[in-house]
């Protein structure tokens, strides 16, 4: 019988802890498929954040480093500068990348660090239980914007891709959704 569907080699054979309906699992798979396709698992170091995907170090088969909340781009910079021969990626949530880690993100981008940042925007702080994130939409109800995000007091969402694409050091900034199969296919490219 022909095998039509397999776990990517760069993913460990373990049960993921993510909630039903969460897209972290899909995005892990996409990242792992790309690592497999490029044949770089043995030279890749991943940096996982504080957030729902904090346990990503147990899921990716490459060497992994767990970074403090928001600091993954700085940690990745350290790895890449010390060992330019390695392929380095970070995997970060919106609170991690666009709130507490804004400075690290912007400056890694403007320095043109040769790293890949996988940015997972779920519009909330997932791990701590659904608080308002920098990407929460106006009017969106979260546990810390119980009446809906009010731009007058809580400001507007940060447009991460637009912001980073103004920097000369950014090589590529793309945004896609992973809500439907066509979107997922598109993202893989």
């Amino acid at each position: 019988m022909a095998v039509v569907f397999e776990r990517p080699k760069s993913l460990c054979d373990v049960r993921l802890h993510y909630c039903a309906g969460c897209t972290h699992g899909i995005i892990h798979r996409l990242v792992a498929e790309v690592i497999d396709e490029m044949g770089i698992e043995g030279t890749t170091v991943g940096v996982c954040p504080v957030g729902c995907s904090v346990f990503a170090y147990n899921y990716f088969n490459c060497d992994m480093i767990e970074a403090p909340h928001g600091r993954a781009p700085a940690v990745a910079t350290g790895v890449k500068r010390a060992r330019p021969d390695l392929n380095v990626f970070t995997y970060q949530g919106d609170g991690d990348l666009a709130a507490i880690g804004t400075a690290e993100t912007v400056h890694a981008a403007t320095r043109g660090e040769n790293i890949a940042i996988i940015f997972v925007n779920n519009g909330t702080y997932g791990m701590t239980g659904g608080q308002m994130a920098p990407t929460t939409l106006p009017g969106q109800v979260t546990t810390t914007s119980p009446y809906g995000r009010n731009p007058k007091t809580a400001g507007y969402p940060v447009h991460v891709c637009e912001m980073l694409s103004t920097l000369d050091g950014t090589a590529l900034a793309v945004r896609t959704a992973v809500d439907t199969v066509p979107h997922i296919r598109e993202q893989r490219r």
Binding site: E66, V75, G78, A103
Partner: protein, 353 residues
């Protein structure tokens, strides 16, 4: 090798390169800036990396990343910058990754002053971040010792897989003294058993991590780390004893202050006062046994520091109420004079002025 005249900060930078430091991540702050500037000039010419980070927070996390690959990396800062680094230091300690951190202390709290001070003794020995952990803290008192302790810091870090801090201050950083660089420097130890350098598809993946979601697992890790700390206390504590054999008064002082105290001790000895000096070179582990030895004939102990009385608490703990311990210090960037210290010695020696 011949001696060269160098500023403490620059000598430290040169010693780091010679000790095999491959990456430096920093952020400008007085009074340590010459150290970064020296490395900015030298690293690119000598096969190393100099990177000015966007903040001390970023710099220490770059250190975490670089150190996680088993590379010799270093960062340096001064007091307010070290406060910002403490989050990263806690993660580095919790991930059992070796690295070197330099604090060229200045006055505090807050923005304080840019003058020399020793107000970060507590921070260095007890408060470098959240959680149960230690750093080895080395406190040189001359430009030559800054150089000597630099390669030792890398060796110790790798031997025990932990961060090591070199606690300097504005005085040591800025003053010029003749120094000699050792011919042979230590080779970086093999870190391949744990470092994140890519699996090469030839081994299990390495995980550099400080998270243990199961309380029992976390406790096990912390206890294991404390067993290591106990070994370090046993074998790595280091101190200088100066004229302590017959000393009835022992003055404890570390770093630059010990130079002033030594002058005061010499002056007092010339007047026939039996006084000596005990200088811890490792602030953690605090050299308790050596202190007890230094105080074997002492009736009084005096701690002299450039702060409001920080190390004096460790002196009291080590002496365990066996001797009266008093304190003299100046703070906020004021350097005590030998005559001020001499006056304190005379007070203890029967009060005669």
């Amino acid at each position: 090798m011949e001696k060269v005249l160098m500023k403490g900060n620059e000598a430290l930078a040169e010693a780091a390169i010679r000790a095999g430091c491959k990456c430096f991540f920093g952020y400008p702050i007085t009074p340590q800036t010459e150290l970064s500037e020296y490395l900015a000039k030298q690293m690119p010419k000598r096969g190393g990396v100099f990177l000015q980070a966007e903040s001390e927070v970023a710099a220490i996390n770059m250190v975490l990343g670089g150190a996680a690959t088993g590379t010799r990396v270093m960062t340096s800062s001064s007091s307010p910058g070290i406060s910002l680094k403490s989050e990263g230091i806690s993660y580095i300690a919790g991930s059992d990754v070796p690295c070197r951190i330099v604090n060229v202390e200045r006055g505090g709290p807050g923005l304080g002053s840019i003058q020399p001070s020793q107000q970060d003794y507590w921070q260095a020995t007890k408060g470098l971040g959240h959680g149960d952990f230690r750093l080895i803290i080395l406190a040189p008192n001359s430009v030559q010792e800054v150089v000597n302790l630099t390669s030792r810091a890398f060796d110790l870090g790798e031997k025990y897989r932990m961060p090591v801090m070199l606690l300097s201050d504005g005085l040591l950083g800025q003053m010029m003294e003749p120094v000699e660089f050792p011919e042979a420097v230590s080779e970086p130890a093999d870190q391949s058993a744990w470092a994140a350098t890519g699996t090469k598809m030839a081994r299990e993946h390495h995980i550099i991590n400080s998270l243990y979601i199961e309380a029992n697992d976390l406790e096990e890790q912390v206890v294991k780390r404390y067993e290591k700390y106990a070994k370090i206390e046993e074998s790595e504590s280091d101190a200088e004893l100066y004229l302590c054999d017959d000393a009835e008064i022992v003055i404890t002082a570390f770093g630059a202050t010990s130079r002033i105290v030594k002058s005061a001790v010499n002056k007092a000895r010339a007047e026939g006062i039996k006084v000596g000096m005990f200088r811890p070179i490792t602030l953690w582990p605090f050299p308790k046994k050596q202190l007890l030895d230094a105080c074997k004939n002492a009736k009084n102990v005096l701690s002299v520091e450039m702060n409001m009385g920080q190390m004096v608490e460790d002196v009291k703990l080590a002496l365990d109420c066996k001797l009266p311990v008093s304190f003299f210090g100046r703070t906020g960037g004021i350097i005590p004079t030998p005559n001020e210290v001499l006056a304190e010695i005379k007070k203890l020696n029967g009060g005669a002025q």
